[in-house]
Symmetry: C2
């Protein structure tokens, strides 16, 4: 079975499910597993310390892909005093013939233009309708609309996807996918109902067999519930949704005492800490690491293919069975024929 | 057309749309308009200063109702040092033969039992899965599941309805409705996809012709967007979502300086202030008043009937047209016949 949407057409994928960029998770093995399962896998560019290492990772991904399967690279513009050599990373992406780029971050105009010029399909990830409209104007092919539920940076507006996706439908003409909070087929169906043409998942894909993170982290994702995330760095205007542990609470305490002082918390929120949790220790309590509210819906560690096929089957069951069974009355439908006369 | 769900059956209503309890808004006129339009209208008990005034309001509602239309009374257990005479209010509800009660607040067990004993259908409104499970065990007939998007008190967990409703599906056996963030037919369809059997709306019903609030407030709801709400009283553990204006910002400032001191903000958050805004001045900037993130989706002030019929028509269009058009491939469906062969 398949779900055919504007996004499956645009990205030339079988199922409208994208694995979004994730630092220290978005390696070739996961991206290839998702793409081979009919979704769109994503290698995270800046997890690679140099453009040449990104080239190696892209080639590793290509070597793992079944024939004809597309994949993506995430290209995130970070606020930074010493920015990475974005131009060199972008050139590698183009040189290697990557079919899809997921851009993210502020002022993506120059990069959207660059990728478009080289024939790359651009999905821009953003947290607010205003930014989505800008990206559409700048030439993005698709928006990944990030709700308040998402792991990492949900922006400062606190608007959940039930409203954000419904609003995007009225604002955008290009297709968009739901990002943040999604991990089940019922949610996939709901997002399609809201106007999205697919979903983008990060945290849910961390709890898969192929995700290249330590089992300790996957176990934490399964054990946790929907109340197990919290927000840090709100005081510095760069809010991040992370696992609710003692290190995160310590960051919040420091922020209450020293609001806005990034120097006071930098040692606790460094990416190197969570790289160690993900790649070495597997200890979910020793660093501040990003995860989404969807962890309340994660109960197992399937393969990427099992997860994607289960979601599509569940979405299809909702679309072809549950929802039609509710429709009846004057406008027709099976229910009106079998049971609805008395209500007319 | 109708949407037939477990909730329309349970509440004996035509459309799965409930108008939830709202202080200084939930009067007879609005409740009757919603019920007459085929939804379930709700009179708010504690907006009436005495049990006898509630009796008058219930009778006023009954006088406005078309024959055979049910309605509800909201019965909220407030944290209070000097609680109202709940027993007397509950007795009036039972005496007047109110068919449905919407309970809300902590420790509802005694009251759920009381209403059930007298044959009243009980919808319990709560913000967390844990509380929903308790209410189910205590005998509630239905849950109104309040997400982070909701006006008033979203609880302290910050879980939006995209995740909360999906989780409720796996946790509850009794039906539930989505409360918070909902105002469109696409969202109604999405909530049904997530497992809910209907929706409960407050803010969206404030912006209707029949809502007994000043036009100035309705205009504010139309003008605002999804970023126009904010949270106050987080520091006192009784978070409230309100309109983002200077008074709300002042409350937040005081809370930052005096966290947890309700005395320091009481004069700004009193119900009497917003009663004046709603009922007298119509000034949206002179008080702290509750409203939900859904205000970003409010563009007009229709009648309750126009709103409900539009939502049901839009939901039905999503269910019968948009979603089925996406289904194809091996499992069948029209799409596979007309366009899907090449993907098999």
């Amino acid at each position: 079975m398949v779900l055919k949407t504007r996004v499956t057409e645009l990205l030339k994928i079988e199922h409208p499910i994208i694995q979004g960029g994730m630092h220290h998770v978005g390696y070739a093995t996961l991206a290839a597993a998702v793409s081979n399962a009919g979704g769109l896998g994503t290698v995270t560019a800046l997890t690679q310390r140099t453009p040449e290492l990104l080239r190696d990772e892209i080639r590793a991904c290509k070597a793992l892909l079944k024939p004809g399967k597309p994949f993506a690279v995430n290209f995130t513009l970070l606020p930074s005093l010493a920015p990475p050599d974005y131009g060199a990373y972008a050139q590698v992406i183009v040189d290697e013939g990557v079919p899809v780029v997921e851009t993210a971050g502020r002022n993506p105009g120059k990069w959207i233009a660059f990728f478009k010029k080289h024939g790359v399909t651009v999905v821009h990830k953003c947290v607010a309708i205003k930014h989505a409209l800008t990206a559409q104007r700048l030439g993005a092919d698709c928006i990944s609309m990030d709700g308040f539920e998402c792991a990492g940076h949900p922006g400062e507006d606190d608007v959940g996807n039930l409203v954000l996706l419904a609003k995007a439908r009225t604002a955008l003409t290009i297709p968009y996918v739901a990002s943040g909070g999604v991990g089940t087929g019922e949610q996939l169906a709901a997002c399609l109902a809201l106007g999205a043409d697919g979903v983008n998942m990060g945290t849910r894909f961390m709890a898969t067999k192929e995700a290249p993170v330590h089992d300790g982290i996957k176990t934490a994702l399964v054990k946790a519930d929907e109340r197990s995330t919290t927000l840090v760095m709100k005081s510095v205007g760069n809010t991040e949704r992370v696992y609710k542990n003692d290190v995160a609470r310590r960051v919040q305490e420091i922020e209450r005492e020293n609001p806005g002082k990034i120097e006071a918390i930098r040692h606790l929120v460094s990416g190197e800490n969570y790289r160690k949790s993900f790649q070495e220790s597997g200890d979910p309590d020793s660093s501040v690491w990003s995860c989404g509210v969807v962890m309340g819906l994660i109960d197992d560690v399937p393969t990427c293919e099992e997860l994607i096929l289960r979601m599509v089957a569940d979405a299809e069951r909702v679309i072809t069975k549950r929802l039609p069974s509710m429709v009846g009355g004057r406008s027709g439908g099976l229910w009106s024929m079998v049971a609805g006369r008395s209500r007319l």
